[in-house]
């Protein structure tokens, strides 16, 4: 057997416990069993480390069931084990299709994990804004920013368990809310936004234009309130280090 064939047999042994592959690889199964155990334990440990709150919320047995399904269906591909947690939300949609709270908890934890090591970007220095040409200003947001619409109280569940207190019962929200995850300093954070503020942030991020945001808010709130709201949102984004870049600043 050449090296390529051996490695493909080994892959099948690890992922499917194919006995024909095992027989071709070694007469003694003990060593192969060690490698297969290592493979599964490593992936299970990775998922446990990436989704500690989800695990606490649904309990060990349910978590391990979902993780085993994920491992079975998603052999790892990336060179970094840190990437293996991607796609757990999709797995939960098939394992627990009627539990949107779990899908959203998984979104929160995966977003926090990726925000933690996202590209660095210095927060915007408010002093530079004195020279901004606001009609033309383009907004740049933190590379760590993740946004999603939540239909359940998953954010409250996450916050409670993160604080070490009893989580509320899972429940649907009266109306969907917007959640953001981003990194401020070295700490990845979760925040739920009012629907209008979430929509404004989504719009500003997609359009990148402060002028367009002003126009949209003026359409909705009227001239005075729209401009005031846009200014307030801008200040809030700067204060929370969500905004990292404003282009179109005139040189003083």
């Amino acid at each position: 057997m050449n090296l390529n064939m051996m490695q493909r047999d080994f892959r099948r042994w690890l992922t499917t416990a194919d006995m024909a592959c095992a027989h071709r690889l070694a007469a003694d199964r003990r060593g192969l069993d060690v490698y297969q155990n290592n493979y599964r334990v490593q992936l299970m440990g990775c998922l446990e480390a990436t989704y500690p709150i989800l695990r606490t919320f649904i309990g060990d047995a349910a978590f391990r069931h979902a993780a085993a399904v994920h491992i079975q269906r998603n052999p790892p591909r990336a060179w970094t084990l840190d990437a293996y947690g991607a796609g757990v939300e999709a797995t939960l949609r098939t394992v627990f299709p009627d539990n949107p709270d779990l899908h959203e908890l998984a979104w929160i934890e995966w977003s926090l994990a990726t925000a933690f090591v996202a590209r660095d970007a210095a927060p915007l220095d408010p002093a530079r804004l004195a020279h901004a040409d606001w009609d033309r200003a383009r907004l740049g947001f933190a590379p760590s920013l993740h946004m999603a619409r939540l239909t359940t109280n998953a954010a409250d569940i996450w916050s409670a368990l993160q604080d070490g207190i009893e989580a509320p019962e899972a429940a649907m929200l009266p109306a969907p809310a917007g959640a953001i995850v981003w990194r401020r300093g070295h700490v990845a954070r979760l925040r739920v936004l009012a629907a209008a503020d979430f929509e404004a942030l989504q719009f500003a991020r997609a359009e990148g234009s402060f002028g367009a945001l002003c126009t949209r808010l003026v359409e909705r709130l009227g001239a005075d309130d729209g401009i005031a709201r846009a200014g307030a949102l801008l200040a809030e984004w700067i204060g929370n280090e969500l905004l990292t870049r404003v282009s179109g600043i005139r040189q003083s």
Binding site: N2, L3, N4, M6, Q7, R8, F10, R11, L14, T15, L25, A26, A27, D28, R30, G31, L32, D33, V34, Y35, N38, Y39, Q42, L43, C46, P75, P76, R77, A78, W79, T80, L81, D82, Y84, F116, V117, A118, R119, D120, A121, P143, S144, R183, H186
Partner: protein, 278 residues
Amino acid sequence: MPAHPSPPTFAGYGLGLRREHYRDFLETHVPVDFVEVISENFMVAGGQPLDILRRVRERHPVALHGVSMSIGSADGLRRDYLVRLKALVAAVDPLYVSDHLSWSRIGRFNSHDLLPLPYTDEALDVVCTNIARAQDALGRALLFENPSSYLAFAGAPMTEWEFLARMCERTGCGLLLDVNNVYVSAANHGFDPFAYLDGIPAQHVRQVHLAGHSQGDGLLIDTHDQPVPDGVWALYAHAVARCGPVATMIERDADIPPLSELLAELALARRLGLREAA
């Protein structure tokens, strides 16, 4: 032989940098000559891990130890991995850059484990081709660590130490001699660990790992969750007597004890190293 400069011959005594000890390394004087980090933990875009590494690097020389190069992959190396590693090397200016004589990836599958190679001429060709590519990409000679293994391939014509010797000779790479791995593999495959140490090319050994292991079901398992046992210390003494002074570190990956316990083990390594190399 490639023209990449050889890694330092002796860099003292160090510890693996683990999360549990970040504060010790950042806020106190830790008496080590270098620290070793797992490369992949810092091959990230940004955030706290890179900031910690930068601050530790201001205080200590750093060795980069990888687990995902997959130098034995029959279908070559991943370019994106080498690009990321090269960026980390440029940022850290490490003492050593090392990985394992093993494979993890085939095609799009990555096992995230250090899987064994058959010690055949074909595998040697694959490994040497991959090492040459990695060394050219990174612009430096690399070190490769002998793995712990739980499976030996029937009919492989070379011993592991013969394979390592030929690999070093053909590529100019160095060896990271993991003495615990020699102990574990010797027990699992029934060879003499002292013959192994006598068979490796001593002039290529640039770094030594010391660690502990656990008893599995009929096999020793390289768990790195125990203090260095007496049998490994005895092998270390033999290795240093043969190789001379060599950069040595305690490698603990699980059940991480207080730093003082690891420093006590490192002090023992230092005493043994100085005595045996004299």
